[in-house]
């Protein structure tokens, strides 16, 4: 039982997250243990949302990656704030507009990949420049606060755990269901293992990849809306840190970079680990440079430790 559990690739990310948390509270002598966890669940949820989208994209096979996530987060946040315009009554339409814009980014990405045959890494990178430029010109010099209910949703806690984390937990469970119980989810896994075999087995490879890029953009849109509620307004650099974070959580979480194997729990462990790692280094009083170096080294360490247990 324990052996089987240990073979799960996501165990490492959770183990690493707990180890880092213990090291931090050992240093502080137990002070702020709960507060650190609360903060971790708040900040990690954003990473988890986009990490799930990136996980789906990466799972559709070698070469597939969505680098437009940060730009989409920004665009969605800017659109949501501008359309809502601090008016609670316009919240729903703001959310619809933001998610609509994000969906368009996903459609555009796959259009570049499929119709113009541009490799995904280039296609999503170049589209991210276009998207960010659109966000900049649309949201020029504007600092709008989110409507109060949105801000509250992003901040409310139950027993020290943000309700947003519960919502994202529900989303994660739903996505895990999609992966194992729907034709689309199975297609994602099959296409990621061998797209030609998937095609010959009667699965719709194009539709699967299309839906996946749209889903990733849509989740980035959700992240953008919640993030602007949480940080009381959209900013043009709000998506920046999520490029590395989204990819790192996927890799650390035990999803196969070669495609075909997704891991939802691992995204949680990895996102918590990444946040707690930075917190720990801050607590130790490490300078920014040391923090970056150690972050990089520890990510490599976790991947090596987890990778050593894989069969492939």
């Amino acid at each position: 039982m324990i052996g089987k559990l240990l073979r799960q690739p996501w165990v490492f990310s959770f183990g690493a997250a707990i180890a880092v948390w213990l090291a931090t509270i050992a240093y502080t002598g137990g002070q702020g243990a709960g507060a650190i966890l609360t903060a971790a669940f708040s900040f990690a949820t954003f990473t988890i949302i986009v990490g799930l989208g990136q996980m789906m994209v990466i799972t559709t096979g070698p070469g597939n990656v969505d680098l437009s996530i940060p730009a989409t987060i920004t665009l969605s946040g800017v659109v949501a704030m501008k359309v809502m315009d601090e008016d609670t009554g316009r919240m729903v339409i703001g959310i619809i507009a933001a998610l609509g814009a994000a969906t368009l980014v996903g459609v555009f990405n796959y259009g570049l990949i499929r119709l113009l045959r541009i490799p995904p890494i280039i296609a999503t990178l170049s589209s991210s420049f276009l998207v960010l430029s659109a966000a900049i010109s649309y949201g020029r010099g504007i600092r709008i606060k989110p409507p109060e209910p949105l801000a509250q949703f992003a901040e409310t806690q139950v027993f020290g755990i943000p309700i947003m984390a519960f919502a994202v937990l529900a989303l994660s469970i739903a996505l895990a269901m999609v992966l194992s119980r729907t034709v689309y989810g199975r297609s994602v896994l099959a296409v990621g293992q061998n797209s030609r075999a998937a095609w010959l087995a009667g699965l719709n490879v194009d539709r699967t990849r299309f839906l996946t890029y749209v889903l990733s953009a849509l989740l980035a849109g959700v992240c953008g809306i919640l993030l602007s509620g949480f940080s009381r307004g959209a900013a043009l650099n709000m998506g920046e840190e999520f490029l590395l974070a989204s990819i790192a959580t996927v890799v650390i979480g035990g999803t196969s970079v070669a495609g075909g194997r997704a891991n939802v729990p691992g995204i949680w462990g990895a996102a918590l680990f990444m946040y707690l790692l930075v917190t720990m280094l801050n607590t130790f009083g490490a300078s920014a440079g040391i923090r970056l170096i150690l972050t990089g080294l520890m990510i490599i360490g976790v991947i090596v430790a987890a990778g050593g247990e894989e069969q492939r």
Binding site: T182, V183, N194, L200, L203
Partner: protein, 496 residues
């Protein structure tokens, strides 16, 4: 390699003259790949300055034999002699190269990112020091000019920029270049397959010239006319053995085809199917010809001819429903399991149910219990040897993986099953089980279109289409499906 021959001295004293004329010889060479016996005791003598033609249909063991001669494969048993003396030590590719044995294989071996001259350097280690490139250029240019006048290839052309025919010319010319050591034997495996008629003639003329200089050549070709006209002697291979070995002049086209065929027919398909049954598939190959293919409900249709002559493309054309009239759901059974078939990360069960996911849905979600049941049912029906369908697909042997792929197609709602040479590397026991399954399913009204490289398998078909160069060149009914007829059609001479 075990040395079972008498000592060199004994032999040379007994028949020194005839032995000195041997360039290279094989004695009782065997080679097995797992359960497949590719070479079952081959004796082959190539005399000095002789052009030996080697023919036989796909899978007869020609390529394996050539790989043994060139040192790429180590035989399981048998002796190899050079110039009449058994070769001491292991016969490796390097040893073959040192003894002057060169090969031009069907799959070209030039490095595409290097120039023609640089590719020459790869086989000629002695081209070192300053100015090696100049010497390599001169070497290959001179040889190209000699074999293929007006070839239009510059020694500094990158291989990737050359047309396929020019690549083949460069590869052939390279095989005949000499720096240090002598050229003993050159193996040409389908050398004219990418050459046009003019360059093919130039090559065949050069082969005669080169043999007159004392080099031995083995010519493998599916174009029987060119073997008959060029070779001094012809060896016919079948089922890993040489079955005929005569002077070329003693063969005619027909006697050669007859020698390649087999007489044994283990199985005969039952009464011809009702020719008024509904037509399920009608398609004309896009790759050529005006003849088209037709498959009726409940029929098993074979696609045959030499490998790679458009049969797989035909299947894919039907699968994509492009320029093909198809009535009913399709399913495809891949022969190349690794690249077209199995999902390595999945269990046997999931591999079986892939094609049926949509049908297994209940309120939008896949019914896991029903999925498990379907997998279990087909595990039993196909007799897949595994204790548990939840085991990974790679825990199965190749033959059982193939059964899982059959199960995937047969468990689905498809009424038309396309099979792309699915019995590759499958043991005979499994084959018999699957044949029975196919016939039972056809009886129930499913239509099978079956590309096979094994002519015996055609005995399970109601009708077969013979492909050559992408076109259908013959349609043979069940009673005409003899190996001889298939070969006749496959080898029919192109206007040369």
């Amino acid at each position: 390699m075990s040395n079972t021959l008498p000592t060199t001295q004994q032999r040379s004293s007994r028949a020194s003259k005839s032995l000195s004329e041997q360039a290279i010889s094989l004695d009782g060479v065997e080679k097995s790949f797992g359960a497949v016996r590719a070479l079952a005791g081959v004796d082959l003598v190539v005399a000095t300055g002789e052009c030996l033609g080697l023919v036989g249909h796909n899978g007869a063991g020609k390529s394996t034999l050539m790989h043994v001669l060139s040192g790429n494969l180590t035989p399981s048993a048998g002796t190899l002699s050079i110039g009449g003396k058994p070769h001491a030590g292991s016969w490796t590719a390097a040893a073959a190269q040192a003894e002057g044995v060169r090969c031009v294989f069907q799959e070209l071996s030039l490095c595409p990112n290097l120039t023609v001259a640089e590719n020459v350097r790869i086989v000629h280690r002695s081209l070192t020091g300053l100015g090696w490139k100049g010497r390599a250029r001169a070497l290959i240019s001179q040889k190209l000019d000699e074999i293929f006048p007006n070839h239009g290839i510059a020694p500094d052309d990158e291989i990737a920029d050359l047309a396929i025919g020019q690549r083949q010319m460069a590869e052939i010319a390279r095989a005949f270049t000499v720096t240090d050591g002598k050229l003993r034997l050159v193996i040409l495996d389908e050398p004219t397959s990418s050459l046009d008629a003019v360059t093919a003639q130039q090559l065949l003329a050069y082969v005669k010239k080169e043999t007159a200089r004392g080099t031995s050549i083995i010519l493998i070709s599916h174009l029987l006319g060119e073997v008959l006209s060029t070779a001094d002697r012809i060896v016919v291979m079948k089922d890993g053995k040489t079955v005929a070995d005569r002077k070329a002049a003693d063969f005619t086209r027909n006697s050669l085809v007859a020698a390649m065929g087999s007489e044994a027919r283990e199985h005969k398909r039952g009464a011809a199917k009702n020719s008024v049954a509904e037509v399920m598939v009608r398609a004309q190959p896009r790759s050529g010809g005006s003849a088209s293919l037709e498959a009726r409900k409940g029929e098993i249709i074979g696609l045959t001819g030499l490998a790679g002559h458009g049969q797989t493309r035909m299947l894919l054309q039907i699968y994509e429903r492009r320029h093909a009239e198809v009535k009913g759901a399709l399913s495809f059974i891949a022969g190349d399991r690794q690249s077209d078939g199995v999902f390595n990360l999945w269990s046997i069960g999931r591999n079986i149910t892939t094609r049926s996911l949509t049908a297994l849905r209940k309120a939008g979600f896949i019914d896991l219990a029903a999925e498990e049941k379907l997998a279990e049912e087909w595990k039993v029906r196909m007799a897949i040897r595994t204790p548990d369908v939840d085991n990974n697909i790679l825990t199965l042997s190749g033959g059982n993986q193939q059964k899982a792929l059959f199960a995937r197609a047969l468990a689905s709602d498809a009424t038309i099953i396309l099979m792309d040479d699915p019995m590759r590397g499958v043991d005979i026991g499994t084959k018999q089980e699957v044949y029975a399954m196919i016939e039972a399913e056809a009886e129930k009204g499913r239509t099978f279109i079956w590309y096979t490289t094994e002519i015996e398998e055609l005995t399970h078909c109601d009708r077969a289409y013979v492909f050559r160069n992408g076109a259908i060149v013959a349609a043979l009914g069940a009673d005409e499906l003899t190996e001889e007829k298939v070969l006749q059609a496959s080898f029919a001479e192109q206007a040369a």
